[in-house]
Amino acid sequence: MKRRRALKDPRGEAALFQRRSLVGFTFIVLGLLALSGRFFYLQVMRHDEFVTRSENNRVKPKVIPPARGLIYDRNGVLLADNVPAFRLEAVPEQVPDMDAMLRQIGDVVPLDEDDIADFRKRLKQSRRFESVPLKMHLSEDDIARFAINRWRFPGVDVVPYLTRHYPYGELFAHVIGYVGRIDADDLKRLDPDRYQGTSHVGRSGIERSYEDLLHGTPGYELVEVNADGRTQRVLETHAPVPGKNLYLSIDVRIQKAAMAAFDGRAGSAVAIDPRNGQVLAMVSVPSFDPNLFVNGISSADYKALTTAPDKPLYNRALRGVYPPGSTVKPFLALGGLAYGIRRPEDTVLSTGEFCLPGASRCYRDDKRGGDGVVDMVTAIEKSTNTYFYKLALDLGIDRLSDWMGRFGFGRETGIDLDGEADGILPSRDWKMEHSRQPWYPGETIIAGIGQGYWAVTPLQLAHAVSILAGKGIPRAPRLVMATQNGVDAPKVPIPNPPTGPSLVSDPAHLDVIKRGMEAVVASGTGKKQFIGFPLVVAGKSGTAERFSRTTSAYDTNKNTAYLAARHRAWFEAFAPADDPRISVVALLEAGAWGAEAAGPIVRTVMESWLATQGDAPASAQPPAPAPTVPDTPEDLPVPADGGGAP
């Protein structure tokens, strides 16, 4: 460095700099000459042409918004349609006094403050000769009154447009969602060129998550206008590209049957084809009419929806989190086999109580006196808590949560909808993060029966059951199975490849679990629900406590309403057991016993699905009526020492 500094030559550097400056200036002059040359070309050579164009600058582009893509069910039943409506629009350039117009027009067509605020915001965003919507969905009355007064409002006109309509109303509100008017926030987010002339955008559900495909590309026409801005003739038309049509994998018949099976009781059901992850039905009860939202919901309607005690706007399938209860037992058993800590024939003696070795803490079976000696298949069939307490303890929380995580618990399933809840999969890390507490063995034990911190969404559980039914191959659930460029175009299927290799290393393991689940339906907790069903069903019930217990006493009150208020009822199943084509999960927010309350819903869904299948054998007889008190004890966890469960 010193040496180089010594070599520094100020005189030489000054000379070098001067040469460089002169060269630089030469370049700059050349650049400015090139620019002048371009101006010469435009202003002299092409002057005449541009003068003509400037004088004829009465040719204006007029945007043609694209038609939104339609949404169908898997058989082509229309679920979201475009229907013609009328709206009021104003062309700013042609309105002599905007404020005066806005003051006066309210007397003719009623406007609320939101209309005017939205209009002003859009006004700023658009060019002066573009028409801006002022009020959507005019009534016949509005149109008639405006027609009489039209002469008073130059530049304002009634314009036809297409608006969204959901023919099935509340049946698909939570899946398809709805579109709403573009508001100020949307304007910041959306590409202004692509959304010119468009008044609505997807707000929730499929309408939102597939907005890009549904929207399409606007076209334009070049129109010649006179000095007043009235269109004289159309010079050129470039048609818009309509949005893509979507085909959902849902079958409207199954959806309908699933919804009806709830009979208004709050809950959710999800049915998935385990072979490809396609969602066959997805309901959240109660629901709402999405058509109310399309052109702006009235504040009375909105208040009614938001204050309703059973929260109809709440998507229980996607966002509701509930303890999974005994539905996790088959997964846990499979984990025991996979880790090699259980053989199918290993037995446990269930005496009605399970105590932590070396501790006074004890946990209870729900059957007084226990189930006796049980192996894996019997433990699943009878939902024997003791078996799974011990299995969970032997697995340990780390292996347990790692294994269950592979089935998608504790995270989003990746379904093609926005806003999915991720639930909670208990683990050491999760607990440390949330309560800064170490993990206690007792918590592992109750995790073994799906209680404690564990929380799942119905969709998550359905996803997990589908993995089990689909030979352990993980696949994200999918609602949209195909797109289409136009009504007559061929459908383009959207593939849904597995997200990884099979989770089951030995198919024999899966067979044991299936045998256990078949036994549940054949002779176990779910035996009343599938009598006469033509296919072999594998299932598992779950009854999770809504509130933790405060005493160790067995519940002697067998009143269904009393129990329902305390329990969440689950049932999960797939069929046919040897080659599953459908897996179903049903949840009732208030159900006395899993199998009795949620089982019939699963059966209804499976029957409606069977009816849609070409090879459907007729269902022999309706399901047996559910008894009010189960004669097979259910799967309820209770810490025997009183109030141990968090």
Binding site: R4, R5, L7, K8, D9, P10, E13, A14, L16, F17, Q18, R19, R20, S21, G24, F25, I28, V29, G31, L32, L35, S36, R38, F39, F40, L42, Q43, V44, R46, H47, E49, F50, V51, R53, S54, E55, N57, P61, V63, E93, R127, R128, F129, K188, R189, D193, Q196, P218, Y220, L222
Partner: protein
Amino acid sequence: MIGTVYARMRRFLRRIMTRPRIDLPLATGLFLLAMVGLVTLYSAGGGDLGLVGGQAARFVLGAALLLLISRIAPTVLRSWTPWLYAGSTALLVLVAILGEGRGAYRWLDLGFMRFQPSELLKLTMPMMVAWYLHPRQLPPSWKDMAVVGILIAIPAGLIAEQPDLGTALLVTGAGAFALFLAGVAWWRIGLLAGIAAAMVPIGWHFMHQYQRDRVLTLLNPEADPLGNGWHIIQSQIAVGSGGIFGKGWMHGTQSRLDFLPEHTTDFIFAVFSEEFGLVGVVALLALYAFIIGRCLWIAMEARDTYSRLLAGAIGMSFFVYVFVNGGMIAGMLPVVGVPLPFVSYGGTSAVSLLSGFGVLMSIHANRKMHD
């Protein structure tokens, strides 16, 4: 203690205010340009005096800053340089953090005004490059070039990420000019230019879709008549219909009738071309050439490397503004947000440009001093 600081500040301020160090030719050129700018803005804004008044107020603020900076000796500026560079780059990082998850975020909200840190780099970037090259032997070695490349790439990358391609271009240009003036061998420049050309497809990959669209639109404006293509078409109609002598002040129909978008900011040159014609355009470009020439003259008269490189780089980057903006409205270059200096409406640009000219004035005043 406080008393002494106060007294020193007063002395400092008095020294600045009593004997301004103004280079008359440069000041005259800038004054004429500002006048042209205000006159054009009055027409482009449809006779809105408030708009013109606001712009004039910014010129006054910029001029005050120019006078202040012209009193600071280049040696002092040089000693501050690393801190100024580090500080302005740190502000860019802050902007990047605050802007997380938003579309485009370029400003820091100071409460009373919104401040755009990338503007600072237009000045601190050439300062930093000049500072680095100043003690080293010229022409710069490969190693020095690499260091300068990194010094440029960090802030330019942060600005391009905002995304603000126009400003990133200007900042990169300012640094590169200092390097060019330092005498990098021609064959090295050729080699680097070749590599840069080869990188174009990769750069294309990293561009935002809207940026790609702008380039594609330039090639075929009719393909996008509702968006950018519309800007280019209407701008060319404005320029072309101006002819040799123009339609006359306040008589440009393109902007009057709202066909021209952003006619007070990025597209104001189109209004000027329409109203004053080719004669006006050539006169305006000549005025810019004069100012740039004077800057380079001041650079050549400067006695130390730092001053020379800095003055030359400021002068040459001024050219980039004019060329990119002019090329954009004449349909030669894609639409990037670069204003026409002193003519486009907008505060930060005028103030930061005038600060740069303050540095030049200071260099001119100290041309006899030795390193």
